[in-house]
């Protein structure tokens, strides 16, 4: 039985547009960057030390912007808090307020503790009284930096990292759940969705860190270490591998089960999503970085070429993740619930949820990151490793 093109009359509109593409992209970066820092803080991967604190700042900068795309999207942003006042526990979306605030607390605590020594030092040595009070307030009136305290802080950071990993996963994975749990939409409805989202989040987080690490360390803001880059690239490769397997399995199952869903999805893939999914996301976004990263596995990391390839691979991977968000969010709405009608989406420039807003919201985290790094240093505290300790002990801790 074949059908003529038919859309349900209410299905003429695309309700989830650029803002909903931007939102999971941002939460993905939050989760990914946090994972990268957890590799050091929790799993003790010493190679990643140069970016471990910076990654937390990246995570925070994006975290502070994560709600904005949602607010721009809502029909009634002024009622946004209803989601915590009268939450409906059967809705994945209702968890947002709670997961978000929980993770925000964990993240700020973790940053606060990893910068503890700086905070205490600033509280003592800042020039102006205002600044002193500010830093002392941040230190909550305490000012101990003895070895015991450092040890306790390290423990706390470790535990917070342990808590932070699942909550970062939840913060992002639940977005996957939001899409994956809708039986009305065959392109979304798959239990692999949270996993695909999570893996691509790690890809995007690592990719962003690679780009920023190369850029910032070449200007001397971060300590350059080829080991660090190599480790980041390896984990990016690993995440991409798992991501590709999940995404591939998803499509393969749709194809093999060949149910009603494949009827829609095959048409979608060969018409509306041919360019953006098959050619751009898979053809450029997956093949290019994965090939480069695979070659780089066998290369010496102290070559200029290695760094160049790393940047290219990371940039394309980042682009791939953005396209993946696009293809899932927009692609899932490009067919009608009748499953036999298709529609196009062309974003507006000046719309409330348009291209300019998207660009603004994508740049805002970088601005916030800049502000954050003006307050807190990007570099790792030098005294954290054993060998460097004697150099630092010139300033004796009080109390």
């Amino acid at each position: 039985m074949t059908y003529s093109e038919y859309l349900f009359p209410n299905d003429m509109h695309i309700y989830w547009s650029l803002m909903i593409v931007t939102y999971p992209f941002i939460t993905g970066l939050i989760a990914g960057a946090f994972m990268a820092s957890a590799l050091f803080h929790v799993f003790g991967l010493q190679e990643l030390k140069p970016i471990s604190r910076f990654a937390l700042l990246v995570s925070l900068a994006f975290m502070l912007c994560a709600t904005l795309p949602l607010l721009f999207h809502l029909g009634h942003p002024e009622r946004a808090l209803n989601v915590v006042v009268t939450p409906h526990w059967h809705s994945a979306m209702a968890g947002f307020g709670f997961i978000y605030s929980f993770y925000l607390v964990v993240l700020t605590m973790e940053i606060w503790l990893s910068y503890w020594e700086e905070i205490v030092t600033y509280g003592r040595t800042s020039a102006s009284g205002m600044k002193k009070t500010f830093w002392r307030a941040i230190a909550l009136g305490a000012g101990e930096t003895s070895d015991d305290i450092k040890q306790a802080n390290k423990k706390a950071i470790y535990i917070l990292g342990l808590i932070g990993i699942p909550s970062a996963c939840t913060l992002h994975g639940y977005v996957g759940f939001i899409f994956g749990s809708l039986k009305s939409n065959p392109w979304w409805s798959t239990p692999l969705m949270p996993q695909v989202f999570l893996l691509s989040a790690i890809v995007s987080g690592l990719a962003l860190l690679i780009v920023m690490y190369v850029a910032l360390s070449s200007k001397g803001y971060l300590t350059w270490s080829t080991k660090c880059l190599k480790t980041l690239c390896f984990y990016l490769w690993l995440a991409m591998l798992f991501y590709m397997i999940s995404e591939g399995l998803e499509i393969l199952f749709f194809y093999y089960e060949s149910s009603d869903a494949w009827f829609v999805i095959s048409t979608l893939l060969f018409t509306k999503l041919w360019v953006s999914f098959v050619v751009v996301q898979i053809g450029i976004g997956v093949v290019v970085p994965f090939t480069l990263l695979s070659i780089m596995l066998f290369m010496k990391e102290d070559q200029g070429l290695y760094t160049t390839m790393a940047v290219i691979a990371a940039a394309t991977a980042l682009f791939e993740v953005w396209m993946m968000r696009w293809n899932i969010v927009i692609g899932g709405q490009q067919f009608s619930k009748s499953y036999v009608g298709f529609r196009s989406y062309h974003p507006e420039w000046l719309d409330q949820e348009g291209i300019l807003t998207t660009m603004g919201l994508s740049l805002l985290p970088f601005f916030l990151l800049y502000v954050l790094t003006r307050i807190l240093p990007m570099r790792e505290a030098a005294e954290a490793t054993e060998e460097e300790k004697p150099l630092q002990s010139g300033e004796p801790a009080e109390q």
Partner: protein
Amino acid sequence: MDKKKKNRRAFIKSAGHALAGLLMVVAIPKPGWAQRIHDIEVGEEIPDWLDHYWVYLIDTTKCIGCGACVRADKRENGVPPMFFRTWVERYQITEDNHVHVDSPDGGYGGFLPEDLAQLLTSAEKDPAGPGRGGGKGKNKVTKGFFVPKMCNHCRNTPCTQVCPVNASYQSPDGVVLVDKTRCIGCSYCVQACPYGSRYIHPEKHTADKCTWCYHRITKGLMPACVTVCPTGARKFGDLKDESSEIKKLLATQRLNVLKPELNTEPFCFYIGLDQSVR
């Protein structure tokens, strides 16, 4: 070593306390939530809602596709242009087993062509294919019917399930409603509805949908679309009313629902629904 252990224990303890606190607040019953429907005393304040359980029945074999229901619905509920709480689809299956589906403007003006002149002057039936004529050859329409559609007021509701703020809910008498003063306009419910029955109101920016004319049925009237239906294709009634016509029909007719495979348990039943209906 001892110190370390103690330290860890202290942390685990405080973390445990925090977690317990979180769980407690999550579990604290919200004001009145514990009260269930049957616990409520039916007083003056609470009218006869609980004495009803509404159900809708559509007989596709009777529908003539005049669109009176769509027009009445728009007037009754002020539905904005290009959005529909109810609409009518026309299915035409041709000799080559091709299904033509259309619903021009949701069936608002019926299915007549824009320009009537040809119809009124020419004696020839439309030869080009399915449409008002009947087609020729492999385009000949072998089977055709109209299918009115609307919110199915499902029991296993995919749309209220995903409403994050409890703005959309199922009323005690079985009607799925949207509280427009609580709705945040996230359009998750629009995505979750497999039938395309919901939309975001372009001016109010909240979710909007068929209410089975809740303001009419609670006053003893039929929904507007049922009132105006000239052939009785649309039927509505109360399951708790033992003598109602709809109870008899539901008990005796062969029924189907839309997209039964999704297990949404629609409470809008169809008589004579073809398998080609989407």
